[in-house]
């Protein structure tokens, strides 16, 4: 961001011959960085005029505020507009240096190339942590880092000989969860803050395709349960409250102290496809101590008009995604982020983060001051990552799009960003090492 403060950017030649009329309005730019709050360490915000006009801009830093002075003109025109400066607020609240996410085309059933990538937030550098060339173009998904530790992570690598890949420093190992305990594969992971246990949902997921209308894909579970992996013994255990035919349990998430597991749960439905519009997941919780769940689960939040996904806790705040029904909000344009105060029970839709289109997966930074979330607001299909600052009092700043060196990159990229997670460092590149796990 310091680079911005001293930057004088002339993005197109020839503006010197243009006459600029002063305007009181701030420019409409893409991405919309007007009035956002960004970490001091964030890569420079690169933008263009939303209507495609040429622009030049300068920026100056006054205290913790950057003022951008933008001039814009049509190509070939000698008349332009000098806009009122817009502000970008710089926050000293720390943000982890990396995020990890999966890049995959927002396809239907199949895919060709996908991978888990890491992006350094102070620059535009993106590296592949693992590509699916490592496992014969199988799926790689649901990455999770133990407490954001780049050296301790897991992800699923599907396909022939597939399973769950665990990385602990230099050591990589492949564990097929369907061979241990209740013999169920893992889906959505939640790494216990203590680092020893991982709670997984185990989902039998199906995609369906509406024959008409604007929603291209619907995804639902035929059944799901929650299992617990002990990474020290590779044993998998279950709990009767989280495993059985009566309920579909999914999306596990730990409280920061590791004493409560939050999860989503809906009554089992016999005809899931036909009844998909009536299936709503409630937010539930159960206590956890000494490697075992204890007591009865309780309902934290339930609604007959909202279905809960992706609970994520930071301090007393629980952020979740809510859609009108179902368990796969990324294909539900009505899906929004909601914030629950676990102490007071106050609940609200986070209008300052939400859009007309889908908001879905989200993660808190370890200090609870930043959130990264996925949204389809740019075009309704290709998920992009947005960040927002949290004031600790229940309010977020205006979200901003992950900066790219070329703003058009956000348009031209034909893949979606899945499962954004903050990481404390560079996870490195594991594709070659992982491919050895899949060699006969």
């Amino acid at each position: 961001m310091k680079k911005i403060a001293i930057a004088v950017c002339l993005l197109a030649a020839g503006c010197g011959r243009v006459h600029f009329a002063a305007s009181d309005a701030v420019p409409e730019i893409f991405p919309d960085y007007v009035g956002v709050t960004v970490p001091e360490t964030m890569a420079a915000l690169s933008f263009e005029m939303a209507d495609g006009r040429k622009l030049s801009y300068t920026s100056e830093r006054v205290g913790d505020t950057l003022f951008f002075h933008v001039k814009a003109w049509k190509k070939g025109s000698k008349e332009g507009v000098a806009y009122a400066p817009f502000k970008v607020f710089l926050s000293k609240d720390e943000i982890p240096p990396y995020i990890a996410y999966r890049l995959i085309e927002p396809n239907y059933e199949g895919w060709r190339d996908m991978g888990i990538y890491a992006r350094e937030l102070a620059s535009y550098k993106e590296t592949a942590v693992v590509r699916n060339s490592a496992n014969g173009r199988g799926c790689v998904n649901c990455h999770s880092f133990a407490g954001g530790d780049p050296g301790r992570m897991m992800f699923h690598a599907r396909g022939a000989g597939g399973g769950t890949v665990f990385r602990d420093g230099e050591e990589l190992r492949l564990l097929n969860l369907t061979t241990v305990g209740p013999k169920r594969q893992g889906t959505y992971p939640a790494w216990h803050p203590g680092g020893r246990y991982i709670a997984y949902s185990s989902n039998s997921t199906q995609q369906s395709f509406p024959i008409a209308g604007s929603q291209p894909v619907e995804v639902y579970d035929h059944f799901s349960d929650i299992i617990l992996l002990d990474t020290q013994t590779d044993s998998v255990t279950t709990c009767p409250h989280l495993f059985g035919d009566a309920e579909m349990e999914t999306f596990p998430a730990w409280s920061p102290d590791g004493e409560i597991l939050y999860y989503c749960s809906a009554p089992q439905s016999e005809k899931v496809a036909a009844n998909r519009g009536d299936i709503r997941y409630a937010l539930k919780a159960i206590r956890f101590r000494d490697g075992a769940f204890e007591g009865e689960p309780w309902t934290v939040f339930a609604s007959d008009s909202l279905s809960v996904s992706f609970p994520r806790v930071s301090g007393k705040w629980l952020l979740f995604t809510a859609s009108a029904y179902g368990t796969f909000p990324i294909w539900h344009r009505e899906a929004d982020l909601w914030l629950l105060d676990l102490e007071s029970g106050a609940l609200r839709r986070v209008d300052e983060l939400d859009s007309e289109d889908t908001e879905s997966y989200h993660s808190w930074s370890p200090n609870g001051r930043w959130v990264v979330f996925s949204s389809r607001r740019l075009d309704g299909r290709y998920t992009r990552l947005f960040f927002a600052h949290f004031d600790g009092e229940g309010h977020f700043s205006k979200p901003f799009l992950l900066p790219q060196q070329d703003p058009q990159h956000n348009v031209l990229r034909l893949t979606s960003y899945n499962v954004p997670e903050f990481v404390d460092g560079d996870p490195g590149q594991l594709t070659d090492a992982v491919s050895k796990l899949f060699q006969p």
């Binding site: 199949g110 604007s214 929603q215 519009g277 348009v411």
Partner: protein, 409 residues
């Protein structure tokens, strides 16, 4: 002047051979290809084993969509290979015309078989490198010069041999016919499909059959001609039951497009892309732009327009849609109430047709496809019921419907 005659013979042979024997095969290369001035395209290409030849090959492949360009580019590449080889050999004082003709005709045959332009470009690039290196060596006096007539006759013989090899190769012929049918289907040229996918030919090349029925449906002749073709089961008719893959999705994208079911057309197009080299292609991008425009989803259509505008030859195509979008109104997304009730697609095309019909989507060919599917399934009760409900759609009942009602099938 005399020196130019042998490479001219090779150029003419490769040009005519590609134009007459493989035009559609090269159009299909463009359909399956991709070249974009975008960071992701180049970073993906730089991870491939031969990135330079890949990028140049992809760039050239863009031109293959337009009739004469592929033959020109192939002929130019083959001719360039001839000139490079002759020049390299000439550096050593060796007679170059016949070896150059042999290598360039070999390259032409290899390009004819290759799925992309990449290998051909790689060979030409290597020859360019060798030629540059040969320039560093002292030039030797010419040894063993051959008479011109021998060079011309030998070159012509090699070019004719390559032409005949390609012309008589069954694999290439079948590939060209399949390509011709697919290209015609993309361009809704139903007569062209029926001229290639004849009843006799579809007996041996059964992948052509669904395209013949697609064309007959669009021409309104399905009920009159269904059994003129060697149809054995419904999978010949609509590819149901066949393994999913490139052929399946290529066809389904076209089928559901003609049946006015854009959701499944887009679904199939996306699936098709996963079987293409780049995981995306010009054909699919064009399809997505057109389909999302038709569906009123301007946000996505504009995205694909922006992506296609980063290629070399889509300015006019993109302008066509952007001008219409500027003048049009996007469709509002569906309500939650609608979405939770809308029927879901199945693997069975017949079931999907019925669902489309129930949803008010009735393309002209849909009814014939439903009736013919029922005939092929041997479900005459359902056939009679459906036909009775739509009897007024047929002033004259098609031949095979009459026979079915009379118990003749």
């Amino acid at each position: 002047m005399k020196k130019i005659l042998p490479p001219l013979i090779v150029f003419a042979g490769a040009f005519l051979g590609t134009l007459l024997l493989q035009k559609n095969s090269f159009v299909m290369q463009e359909y399956d290809g991709l070249f974009l001035l975008s960071g992701d395209y180049f970073s993906a290409m730089l991870r491939t084993p031969f990135p330079v030849s890949g990028i140049i090959g992809d760039f050239l492949t863009q031109f293959f969509r337009f009739g004469v360009y592929a033959p020109l580019i192939v002929a130019a590449g083959v001719c360039l290979a001839f000139l490079l080889v002759r020049s390299i050999l000439g550096r050593f004082g060796l007679p170059g015309d016949l070896p150059a003709a042999a290598l360039s005709c070999g390259l032409w045959v290899a390009v004819a078989f290759a799925p992309t332009a990449r290998r051909g470009v790689a060979v030409v690039l290597i020859l360019c490198l060798l030629w540059a290196l040969s320039r560093l060596l002292p030039k030797r006096d010419a040894r063993w010069p051959l008479p011109l007539w021998l060079n011309l006759a030998g070159t012509a013989l090699l070019a004719a041999g390559a032409f005949l090899f390609i012309a008589l190769n069954g694999t290439l012929q079948a590939r060209e016919r399949m390509a011709a049918v697919r290209v015609a289907a993309v361009n809704a040229d139903w007569d062209r499909i029926l001229s290639v996918a004849t009843p006799a030919r579809t007996a041996t090349e059964r992948e052509l059959l669904p395209y013949a029925f697609l064309a007959l449906g669009e021409k309104g002749r399905l009920g009159d001609e269904l059994y003129r073709y060697p149809v054995r089961s419904r999978s010949d008719f609509d590819m149901s039951g066949l393994p999913e893959g490139y052929a399946h999705y290529f066809y389904n994208a076209l089928l559901y497009g003609t049946l006015q079911g854009p959701n499944e057309a887009v679904h199939s197009a996306f699936q098709l892309a996963t079987y293409q080299e780049h995981g995306q292609s010009f054909l699919v991008l064009r399809r997505l732009l057109a389909d999302y425009y038709a569906m009123g989803n301007y946000a996505l259509a504009k995205k694909y327009a922006a992506v296609l505008s980063r290629s070399t030859l889509h300015a006019q195509y993109v302008r066509h849609f952007t001008e219409r979008m500027a003048a049009g109104t996007p469709r509002e997304p569906d309500s939650v109430a609608f979405r939770k009730e809308v029927p879901l697609i199945t693997r069975d095309p017949l079931s999907n047709l019925v669902k489309l019909g129930a949803g008010g989507i009735n393309a002209p060919a849909s009814l014939d496809r439903v009736l013919c599917s029922l005939l092929l399934d041997g479900d005459l009760d359902s056939f009679r019921t459906v036909l009775a409900s739509a009897r007024d759609r047929y002033p004259v009942l098609p031949r095979y419907y009459q026979e079915a009602l009379a118990g003749g099938l």
